[in-house]
Amino acid sequence: MFLQTTDINLIKNAWWMYLIGAAVTIFIIGGALFFAFTALRQAKKIGMRREQIRQSVISSISFSILPSIGIFIGVITMAGLLGIPLPWIRLSVIGALHYELMAVSVASGGITAATLTTQHFVTIAFAMTISIIWGGVFALFFFKKYQTKVLSKATSGEKGGFGKLLFDAVFIGMISAYLGDAFAKIFRYDVRVVEDGAYLLDDFGDYVVVDSRTFVPIIVFLSSMLAMFVFDLIIKKWHQKWLENFQLALSMIFGMTVAVLLGIGGIF
């Protein structure tokens, strides 16, 4: 033990917690840059066009800004209970807000910022970290085998032309699932109540939920789609090719603005 205190309020926002967060951030940025440089070297070797590389980078950055702000809001959501550094670390690596909130509830059900102890905090940190690593562990040991034995066979050989359609079909399935997700919320949408950065539990240990059924997500889904159509027209009719890299991000902003306007009009 290096500290003179075990007071959770001093630990959860301590300077050394920020230092750990900074170290994790540097590791992630370093790793990402390493992969990017390796890919760039390969791009040169296989003679890819500079334009393709530029488009990939710009579109990925512009696309990632809004969802990343959403992820940052997750840090703020959890900060009430866990302070800033731990949610910052957790949402910089594999995990997601709903998963982290569930881990808090399962590891230390019923605690609040006032009743949180250092032992709760350490228990939550371990539970959050270990329960989500399985995809990474599987990738570490089996991804290469899966890729060479299963994937390459599924996409080559006699199936031939269907290989190309296969991935489009999987991705269309994924988008359809999110359309269904938005549509489902018209009929029913129980939202778990978050208090002090954790799901609120009732006296029986069940999650406290409120009925929040809503049309908003399906309207947002369709609005973003409509915005993409309009941007497509602008790109094609007025030859504004530069807009391609920002089309998706701008369409998302349009969809999100519609949600805000509906909210201002009292529709949530």
Binding site: S64, S68, I71, L91, F126, V216
Partner: protein
């Protein structure tokens, strides 16, 4: 480097990165334990890990199986350390692929996917870090009640926008999965929004089976 040796190289460095990434993740709670001198509540921790892992172990494996074809080799290792797959990395890669006009499984797509995940990751960690630096300044804006709907429905905005090009390009392919997901949503709404990871897998299977039948019956024009 030819494609096979590049792929093998990416598996090698990817595995090293993955091992390092998992170690970095695991060392965080260990450091908190060591520095504070307070260990976890072992009973609660083991129960929490077991009960969460029942859900997240199979879904972790399913995610690798489902999403690695989109990501390719390098990006799979990077994405499974940095997370936010469904709500960010996968759509980001698919968008970059659309714009760069590459085909899944090609050497060009491997490069595009790796660059896409790498720069998406950098964007996210920079936004998180800058957000924390200027927390006092931006917190009121992000927490303002009027802004809540925008970020509540960011995933719907994302998939709506992304859906446009896929739905437009493959009008015959989309009919079955859309009808299926809408009917499922109407019949079992809670199942759909509570189990989106499972629903994605089910809808993807329905979509692939429908596409295969249409392909075999030559209902789809050759691309």
């Amino acid at each position: 480097m030819n494609n096979t040796s590049y792929n093998n190289h990416m598996h090698r460095v990817g595995r090293v990165f993955m091992a390092m990434g998992l170690s970095v993740m695991l060392i965080v709670p260990v450091l908190i334990w060591v520095i504070s001198g307070v260990g976890p509540d072992w009973n609660k921790m083991i129960i929490a890990i077991l009960s969460m892992s029942i859900l997240y172990l199979p879904s972790g494996i399913i995610e690798v199986v489902t999403y690695s074809p989109f990501l390719g080799t390098g990006a799979t290792y990077l994405a499974f350390v940095t997370g936010n797959l469904v709500n960010l990395k996968i759509p980001c890669v698919m968008n970059a692929r659309e714009i760069a006009k590459t085909e899944i499984g090609t050497p060009e797509n491997e490069v595009v996917a790796t660059l896409s995940v790498a720069f998406s990751t950098i964007t996210t960690v920079i936004i998180l870090s800058v957000g924390i630096l200027f927390l006092q300044l931006i917190r009121p804006f992000l927490e303002a009640e009027v802004m809540q709907p925008a970020f509540n429905w960011v995933v719907s905005a994302l998939f709506g926008a992304l859906g446009y090009k896929y739905f437009l390009r493959n009008p015959k392919l989309v009919i079955v999965p859309i009808v299926f997901s809408l009917v499922l949503a109407a019949i079992a709404p809670k199942f759909v929004y509570s189990n989106i990871a499972i629903v994605i897998v089910i809808t993807a299977i329905v979509s692939v089976v429908a596409a295969k039948i249409m392909y075999d019956k030559k209902w789809l024009s050759e691309k």
